[in-house]
């Protein structure tokens, strides 16, 4: 669970309570995967999902690779980096936070709330244990990982340096291993280069004609590779401050880049779903490794040997594939590469070596007239029927016609809106807004509750729900390890549950509501045990 800070125009804080209706353990990615990290020591793969969950997978466990989930973000996780030899994971999310995790045990150690918009990219300098985060708020913050991991409840202030000068939203970031150069790519279409040690601007590199979505730097920070939405990959010399080569291998935007240790071969993927390996010194030598089923979001090289034996690829679909590169090694040595760019290449692999299966994500939803039930359709075209009040799935309807089902379940009633739904994570997220969450009053009978004395009181759906959320607040979720979590939030620190109670009690209507006697009704109103209710408190 986490807190959200959303300042509205008036500067007043808006209280929102959100919860996700989902299984208690979500073993599969429910949406696209934005980032990948391999821990070569433990042979684990970390995936940063658009379903807001970072999952840990055992690479060698082909059958059931799932190890654990790291759940604390409330929106897409956009990037992750593994530091301290795999002990610490840092994640950046569209919930505007950066989180520090104990990667081995899988819990969140601290939350950094300095960004004011989606955090899109992270960069890591291994030699200095330095991490940089950047996002749509045009800001770049530098974090010392050792300081971050040393944060405790009593010592929770972090000093960061920020790099200014970006004029547009940053979509990509790279730092060399030595921590001497940092590069950012943005919709400004130029690369901006700083020295993270002095925070001094070094240069601007112009050439791309669209957003820059992927960046890589070599070890000593003399060369930079950039992949852009304009469909090109460019190689830059930072010494000469200019572009030294442009590679046009993709038909559409280049979204992901990886490079071998020697900085001689670039692996690229993007919107055209294809993954190529291109020789940087001889661009005619390129190999189409594979074709994915969806636009490629991120790639991670298996560096257990040189040349890399395999590459992990994540896309906007929920499954993650591992593609073998061994064939390419043979291919290259045989000298049979295709250097004729005009003819379509045949892919090196047609089947991935390994697949981490993903789950279905909800892509369509319809709130029924009773303002209590929702119909959804997922990527597998399965239609489901949900109960918002009980926070559970009511029925799996299978592959039926969605619109037909809506018509079939239409009821001639009018209930005001008291919640909103969004599908950004691929799961149902229900949000109650303080402005209208108590708007819906229905009679207890209509809502299907039988009271003991046979009376028919009016019930407030939003009130009922909030009450239930607190009543059945999952104590189990307060993991003992969570106690270590520190809010790096300008010195404010409190546990999540305290946070929730406080913010709810700030609403006068809610506190008076709590005093009313609806508790006897709750005997018939419980959350289904199979559904885990995950609560997000949004304080804006």
């Amino acid at each position: 669970m986490a807190t959200h800070h959303r300042q509205n125009a008036a500067g007043r804080r808006k209280v929102q309570v959100s919860y996700v209706i989902r299984d208690e353990v979500e073993k599969y990615n429910r949406n696209g995967v934005n980032a990948l990290q391999l821990d070569p020591a433990l042979n684990r793969l970390f995936t940063a999902g658009r379903d807001s969950i970072i999952r840990i997978w055992s690479v060698y466990q082909h059958k059931d690779p799932y190890i654990a989930s790291m759940e604390h973000h409330t929106d897409w996780v956009n990037d992750i980096v593994l530091c301290c030899n795999g002990k610490t994971l840092i994640s950046a999310s569209s919930d505007t936070t950066v989180k520090v995790w104990n990667a081995h045990k899988g819990f969140c150690m601290s939350t950094l709330r300095t960004h004011k918009d989606y955090v899109k990219a992270l960069a890591y300098a291994k030699d200095k244990e330095l991490v940089a985060s950047a996002g749509l708020d045009r800001q770049i913050f530098l974090w010392d990982v050792n300081t971050l991991t040393a944060l405790t409840a009593s010592n929770n202030t972090v000093t960061t340096s920020s790099l200014s000068g970006n004029k547009d939203s940053i979509y990509s970031l790279a730092m060399n291993q030595m921590g001497t150069v940092i590069v950012s790519g943005s919709t400004e279409k130029v690369l901006r280069v700083w020295d993270p040690r002095t925070c001094a601007k070094l240069m601007k590199l112009k050439g791309h004609t669209d957003n820059v979505k992927s960046l890589l730097l070599n070890r000593d920070g003399t060369q930079c590779l950039s992949g852009s939405s304009d469909g090109t990959i460019r190689l830059w010399s930072l010494g000469q401050q200019r572009c030294i080569a442009t590679y046009r291998v993709h038909d559409e935007g280049v979204w992901a880049l990886q490079v071998n240790e020697a900085f001689t071969h670039v692996y690229s993927g993007g919107r055209d779903k294809k993954i190529y390996c291109t020789d940087l010194r001889n661009p005619d030598i390129r190999v189409l490794i594979c074709e994915e089923k969806a636009p490629v979001l991120k790639m991670e090289l298996d560096r257990s040997a040189d040349p890399p034996p395999a590459i992990w690829v994540s896309t906007t679909k929920s499954s993650v594939n591992k593609w073998s590169l061994k064939g390419m090694h043979n291919f290259r040595s045989s000298g049979e590469y295709d250097n004729d760019c005009s003819t379509p290449l045949t892919p090196l692999c047609t089947q991935p070596e390994q697949v981490i299966k993903g789950g279905a994500s909800i892509i369509q939803c319809h709130i029924l007239n009773d303002k209590r039930h929702i119909l959804t359709k997922d990527t597998n075209n399965n239609v489901a029927f949900w109960d918002v009040l009980k926070a559970c799935k009511g029925e799996d309807l299978g592959k039926v016609e969605f619109d037909e089902e809506i018509k079939k379940r239409f009821k001639m009633v009018y209930v005001p809106n008291w919640f909103s739904v969004d599908l950004k994570t691929g799961m149902l997220t229900i949000t109650l807004d303080e402005s209208d969450c108590f708007a819906a009053w229905v009679s207890a009978k209509d809502a299907g509750f039988s009271s003991s004395d046979g009376s028919d009181p009016k019930l407030n759906l939003g009130g009922l729900l909030l009450q239930a959320l607190l009543e059945f607040w999952p104590r189990t979720r307060i993991n003992p390890m969570d106690e270590e979590e520190n809010e790096v939030n300008h010195g404010k620190e409190m546990t999540d549950s305290v946070f929730i109670c406080m913010s709810l009690s700030r609403n006068p209507f809610f506190s008076s509501f709590l005093c009313e006697n609806f508790f006897h009704l709750f005997s018939s109103f419980t959350f289904s045990s199979s559904v885990f209710c995950h609560i997000i408190l949004a304080l804006a």
């Binding site: 569209s94 601007k204 112009k206 957003n211 939405s229 636009p295 906007t316």
Partner: protein
């Protein structure tokens, strides 16, 4: 009618005297001119006054602007007359003249108009047979006619000059665009009076009306096809206009807009169909009323000398409203603009009319949609679409998944900025590798600004249907379909903080913008690779000279092309034309009178209501000020330069010996101002005559002289000519370029740029 002659002479005699006074006192001149207008109806009291014509005649003298820069002395011009026809200034009508000249030389338009006009004639004929007196002509069809006759006059005048240049040695080669101005005023009351107007607006207006005319013709043809009973259609048109017949429906609002404005309510309430007979019948009663009400204008005009001057100097009711349409968002002035224009001129007028406006507003998009569906496109009917109408695509691209959605929108011209609204931030200066700021903005830059990418980011993100998430997005404008002629409107005005006064709130931007002779739109097209014909060449520029946006003078630079296609008017061809012309005249004779009556009526009521209108104008100017941010602004212009004023008088001295006196023409001629009693006639009438004379003269050696004449003309191919009302001058390309893209700020600046598609190199 003959009785009128005397009175007119009186009036005519009066005017030159006043004029000569006026030319000395700049402000008073306008005032007196107005006074004249009022006094004249009185003089005509017993008969139906014809102020339209008398006004037109009086006007040629007015309003020399105190300083109109960059004009040559008139004597220079007289020495070498260009074989191109100018248009006389009919009182601050240089906004119209410059636009008409551009349209005249606009490739393909002349022929198109003729074709359209022939279509309307075919249409009208059966009607005339049945009831000639009740002949029904929607005003926008009439505009087509008057435009056609203007084209004809210009062509004939040119022919006659070419064949016999000597006969023009002491005069000027010009024709007054009187008829088209009159029709325009009928269609759009905003153009009544002698106010200065925005050239871009008048262009939009004219193109819009021609488009409407095309639509009407197309509908009529469809109707005809549907029920072959032509008479029934006629009946419907003629009898119950307000019934829900589609043709009449589309006409009704516009007609009312045009004609009602100056009229009294009683006329408004009468249906259009009955308008003409009714006005004829009610003539007497109206005359009576008028005779009563006319007393007031008279007294007014008399004691007026000092007082009304103030009134004249004040912005009139209609002017501020023009400013109220500063379209901040409206980068595109699409087809519907013509309907947008209307509500504004109506500010301070009756509710009933604004109701009509709304109806027409609602209807027009519908109509257009229908038209597109029924694209059985009789040849020539798509003239406007083909020549001037392009399509823009508004493309919104999600930056996350990079998929985009599109919305298409038609446009007739594009408005581009000349100033950067975001001054460069000081941050830029500290950049490591700052890019040098270009000193002079180019047109390319301006178009890039127009098509600039807008980013949807920050607090208000774009909800992407693909990502199911709020994401950043880019919104860009691209050309989906480009027209044959692309009109670029330079937004030469900037809003100041002073919002109280609609004039002070806006100032003209004289910053020069580099205007290239050729232009490529490839960069901003949806399919950059597949577009071949996106290269354009400049063929005309409308210049505005003046330091403020509320006044100034318009001139037009036009590059001559396709002169080899110019044909001289032959004897036989002309004969047929003449018959046509006569026929038209006889029609006009009656019509003009009626219109004159309407017009007169309007004038009277105007003079009565001036106070009220002023009040309304004040109110509307206030709202105008508020609306500044949403409406569009134009540059007003219409002043005559001193030199051209003198030319105007000299031209009136030029006598037309061959003027034949038909009964209908008599009525025209008696309105002459000229002391000699001879005149430059109402343009339409004169030219056929002149043409005849010329061709008669050349009858013997026709072939040779014609060839010679045409060869003379061909010398001007590719040359730039400056059309300054009645004056036409030759410009070398470099001089033109210098005038167009001056080194420093000058008050004489390009305002409208017209580019034509260049032929494919392969073809």
């Amino acid at each position: 009618m003959p009785g009128l002659q005397g009175e007119n002479v009186v009036a005519a005699l009066g005017s030159p005297i006043k004029k000569s006074k006026l030319s000395l006192k700049f402000f008073q001149k306008k005032e007196t001119k107005r006074a004249l207008d009022f006094s004249e109806p009185q003089a005509d009291e017993p008969k139906t006054a014809e102020p339209v014509d008398s006004c037109d005649q009086v006007v040629p003298g007015p309003s020399p602007c105190p300083a109109s820069p960059g004009l040559l002395l008139p004597c220079e011009k007289r020495e070498n007359l260009m074989p191109f026809v100018g248009l006389n200034n009919l009182g601050n009508t240089c906004y119209l003249n410059s636009i008409l000249q551009v349209l005249y030389y606009c490739p393909g338009l002349r022929g198109g108009i003729k074709k359209l006009y022939n279509l309307t004639k075919r249409k009208d004929k059966p009607k005339e047979e049945t009831d000639k007196s009740e002949e029904f002509l929607p005003a926008h069809i009439e505009l087509l006619g008057s435009f056609n006759s203007l084209i004809t006059s210009v062509e004939q005048l040119q022919s006659s000059f070419l064949l016999n240049p000597d006969s023009f040695s002491d005069g000027e080669l010009a024709t007054p665009p009187r008829k088209i101005l009159h029709t325009l005023r009928q269609l759009n009351p905003m153009y009544e009076g002698y106010l200065q107007h925005d050239a871009q607006e008048v262009l939009q207006c004219i193109l819009g009306y021609i488009q409407e005319a095309c639509d009407t013709i197309r509908k009529e043809q469809e109707l005809e096809r549907e029920d072959n009973d032509v008479t029934e259609v006629k009946m419907e048109n003629g009898v119950h206009l307000d019934s829900s017949d589609s043709v009449t429906e589309s006409k009704t609002p516009t007609e009312e807009d045009g004609q009602v404005s100056g009229k009294r309510k009683s006329d408004t309430e009468v249906g259009n169909a009955k308008k003409k007979p009714k006005s004829a019948k009610s003539k007497k009663s109206e005359v009576e009323e008028d005779s009563i009400s006319r007393n007031r204008p008279l007294t007014r005009s008399k004691r007026n000398e000092g007082k009304a001057k103030l009134g004249w100097l004040r912005p009139s009711g209609k002017q501020p409203s023009i400013f109220s349409k500063f379209r901040s968002v409206g980068k595109i002035s699409s087809m519907t603009v013509k309907t947008q224009n209307k509500p504004e001129q109506e500010n301070g007028q009756s509710d009933k009319k604004s109701q009509n406006e709304k109806n027409s507003d609602e209807r027009s998009p519908q109509n257009m949609a229908e038209d597109k569906r029924a694209m059985k496109a009789v040849e020539g009917l798509d003239l406007m679409e083909r020549l001037f109408q392009g399509r823009l695509v508004l493309r919104t691209r999600c930056l996350e998944c990079e998929s985009f959605t599109e919305r298409r929108e038609d446009f007739q011209d594009i408005s581009v900025p000349v100033l950067d609204d975001q001054p460069s931030s000081p941050d830029d200066l500290s950049e490591v590798s700052p890019d040098p700021k270009p000193e002079l903005k180019t047109l390319k830059w301006a178009i890039a600004q127009f098509a600039s990418v807008e980013r949807i980011a920050g607090e208000d993100k774009y909800f992407c249907e693909t990502c199911h998430h709020y994401t950043e997005a880019e919104r860009s404008l691209l050309f989906d379909k480009t027209p044959e002629v692309i009109t670029i409107h330079l937004k030469r005005f900037s809003a100041n903080s002073l919002e109280l006064d609609p004039y002070a709130g806006l100032s003209k931007v004289n910053t020069p913008l580099q205007t290239p002779l050729t232009l490529s739109l490839e960069e901003w097209c949806t399919h950059p690779s597949s577009t071949k014909g996106q290269h354009y060449e400049l063929f005309a520029v409308v210049m505005h000279s003046g330091v403020t946006i509320s006044s100034g003078h318009y001139t037009a630079y036009i590059r001559m092309s396709d002169l080899k296609d110019v044909k001289l008017w032959q004897q036989d061809r002309k004969e047929a034309e003449k018959e046509e012309e006569e026929e038209k005249e006889s029609k006009e004779g009656t019509r003009v009178k009626e219109e004159a009556l309407d017009y007169d009526d309007g004038e009277v009521s105007f003079s009565l209501n001036t106070r009220g209108q002023r009040g309304a104008s004040l109110a509307s100017s206030k709202t105008g000020g508020k609306k500044l941010s949403e409406g569009g602004v134009g540059l007003l212009g219409g002043q005559r330069s001193l030199s051209s004023y003198e030319l105007g008088t000299s031209s009136s001295k030029h006598t037309d010996k061959t003027a034949s006196s038909g009964a209908t023409e008599g009525s025209k001629r008696r309105k002459t101002i000229n002391s000699v009693g001879q005149n430059t006639e109402a343009g339409l009438k004169k030219e056929p005559e002149a043409g005849e004379e010329a061709s008669v003269a050349s009858c013997d050696g026709v072939g040779a002289t014609e060839q010679q004449a045409l060869n003379n003309l061909l010398e001007y191919e590719g040359k730039w000519l400056l059309f300054d009302d009645s004056e036409v001058r030759l410009f070398e390309e470099e001089d033109f370029l210098r005038a167009c893209s001056p080194e420093m700020c000058s008050s004489s600046t390009p305002y409208l740029l017209f580019y034509r598609r260049m032929p494919e190199p392969g073809c």
